[in-house]
Assembly symmetry: C2
Amino acid sequence: MSAESPFGLSSVVLLVDLYELTMMQAYHTYGMDERATFDLFVRRLPQCRNFLLVAGLGTVLELLEGLSFGDDDLAYLESTCLFERDFLDQLRGFRFTGDVDAMPEGTVAFALEPLLRVTAPLPQAQLVETLLMNQLHLQTLLASKAARVLLGARGRRVVDFGLRRMHGADAGLAGARAYWIAGLAATSNVLAGRRYGIPITGTMAHSFIQALDDEMEAFRRFSAVYPETVLLVDTYDTLEGVEEAIRLATDLGKECRLRGIRLDSGDLAALSREARRRLDQAGLASLKIFASGDLDEYRITHLLADGAPIDAFGVGTRMGTSADAPSLDLAYKLAELEGLGRLKLTANKDTWPGVKQVWRRRHDDGTPLGDTLGLADEDHPGEPLLVPVMRGGQRTEAGRETLAASRRRAGDEVARLPERLRRLEPADPSYPVGISERLREERREVIQRLHQRRALAH
Amino acid sequence: MSAESPFGLSSVVLLVDLYELTMMQAYHTYGMDERATFDLFVRRLPQCRNFLLVAGLGTVLELLEGLSFGDDDLAYLESTCLFERDFLDQLRGFRFTGDVDAMPEGTVAFALEPLLRVTAPLPQAQLVETLLMNQLHLQTLLASKAARVLLGARGRRVVDFGLRRMHGADAGLAGARAYWIAGLAATSNVLAGRRYGIPITGTMAHSFIQALDDEMEAFRRFSAVYPETVLLVDTYDTLEGVEEAIRLATDLGKECRLRGIRLDSGDLAALSREARRRLDQAGLASLKIFASGDLDEYRITHLLADGAPIDAFGVGTRMGTSADAPSLDLAYKLAELEGLGRLKLTANKDTWPGVKQVWRRRHDDGTPLGDTLGLADEDHPGEPLLVPVMRGGQRTEAGRETLAASRRRAGDEVARLPERLRRLEPADPSYPVGISERLREERREVIQRLHQRRALAH
């Protein structure tokens, strides 16, 4: 148990798969510290994703800058009997000194495109695999899901209520960060508010009403303390709850600063229509209707198609676990070592060799037309998407981008996507990502080299 | 950014939904600090789960014991302009002083049964809602999934390879803990090894082979450093990789301590059969076949049904995200306040009032026959499942159980389940959980009281 971190996460550097460390020791043994480039990319998009929204870069760059082995870490590694003393001594001075080029957060990305590439001595680039993947996977997964929820909500306010059923503390915190980049309006997660400056929000729980046994009394008390609150009306009987809210608002008269009511269960379309009718009839057109409870982009789309007069959505579990696609097929693969391209030929998991770049071509109005995946020293029309974010282990200016800038980019980029990609159904055709002729040639050459090696070896 | 915790998770107490704090201030304003009991339970099991395996209790009890507001937390709360000074002053001395009764970790549980109940002054019991849910949800979700993977593997070794695509750092770490309770053999997560004493394991990555361009040379080097390693054979061509492994083992002769080979892609059933045949033919019957790559209980079951001679499984993403059921319908609801039962009547989300207990009846051989959910002061046949784990904010002896004890319980409990519950298909009939007559009576009385209140109010 570590005193300093209640979740036991103080030691970032040990948050790795064991094989990163055993491979490091083998690299160390054989003096294999050549300059390596690894790509981080998604092999295939989930069927229910037309694009990815990149997030998590700022988090990983900060972690990379601070990466080091503490005495406790080294003592633990020694206790496993898997490591030699001189290797552990070398770890004592470890710092990440590599370069990182990456798509800025809020960039829209597609399958096969490196979201990030690391260039560093082989052992360093190897060590960071699991940490980079774990963090970029989480935030990109959740930002990509949130982008869809926002598209479904068609401009209505969406807030994050996910913390309780997201996968642990880090998912809740880093997820709120990813959501903010994607464009959510606020989060219920107070720590995310403190750490990232994200607006925090919330209404009341059923327990507050249950505690008083009397809905009207609960509404009175809570709104006396928080006059601009949203009243949760479904603890006992939703429409009776709406009537209580109307009574309170009417009693308050001109003093009323209530923002609205929240529906959290039942037939949200029918209930919201009836609630709207009653609120309007009572002259309370300014009171908003807020909905929550098992929502996601599909249900929000159905509600709106059904004419539900809902003004804002609180979205939790289904977004927070990316329920329809709870993981991305994210990989981190060696692409070049000592200037020579490297690849895997594994069935359905083969890779593209070389230090690569992605160029995005656009219409005059900014709509992306297609991307080209090529070697970084090529010249292609369009904007190169990977930019230098870390050099020699230190973040560049671009690597210190504010969340506000990432959020603006995400908003712009998603808005400029072709209509077929912004729909929730699979886009047909999907977004075109072409492979440059030189990259194809590089791949052929690497394969040829491998075959020659093999022929010689046998 | 907090210096002490790289993931920004140093402040557990702010890892809450905002409404816990605003409700607390409202409770404070009205002096509502009566003794409250909240239940934490799962409303409905996912269709693809016949039982839950409880995990995470030790984690949350440790967090509850340390819960307090730091100066930075209070400064942040003040900056939101949502809280009065005297409320914030009160938070400064906050400690959780409540009682917790819970099912020990490794207990098998079912829908509606309280996995845990908190009895504390209302504001305290309210504050801990989100944290308790977030942590118990994660570990119970993952332990329950892992139990199925182990059932699918029918006694074969299963290890955790999930960290890279689990949802963040806490999911990877707490998940490894939950897996250990469920009965996995080891984890690749080094930090989990350090923090929880779980055996760590790993083989090699494709990058090690790619880095040398030459599989045989890579095998030689890695096994020289780690003679008992498992060779990853699918980087270029799986069966050629198997031949390289055979050559190395044959060259090593009596010195050979290789544990086996790992298949990570392709048709694992066909490849494992052919690899087994070749290994056996070469007199290497002692070399094991290890499989990984998109595995879960369903795929493992198919592989074994298909006669795949696989000795051990590395399971990652699909178990680590509980892909077929990425969340549980977990709730935390007020059940009693000041000795009076409380409930929600919300459609499909109604609750049972009162301080409750669960009794489990068993066959002579230990097979559970059925559970009874009743009021805690009732007397029912069978073993009461909720035990005191915290009193006055301090863990009891039972609240300090070792992971080893939890793991033993989980193993015993899952093994004793009726066959139909241990199958991967939905059990028919599902496990019977009866509601006691007195609990039904209590519910009728509470509803009657609510109606009388309501009639009076109007």
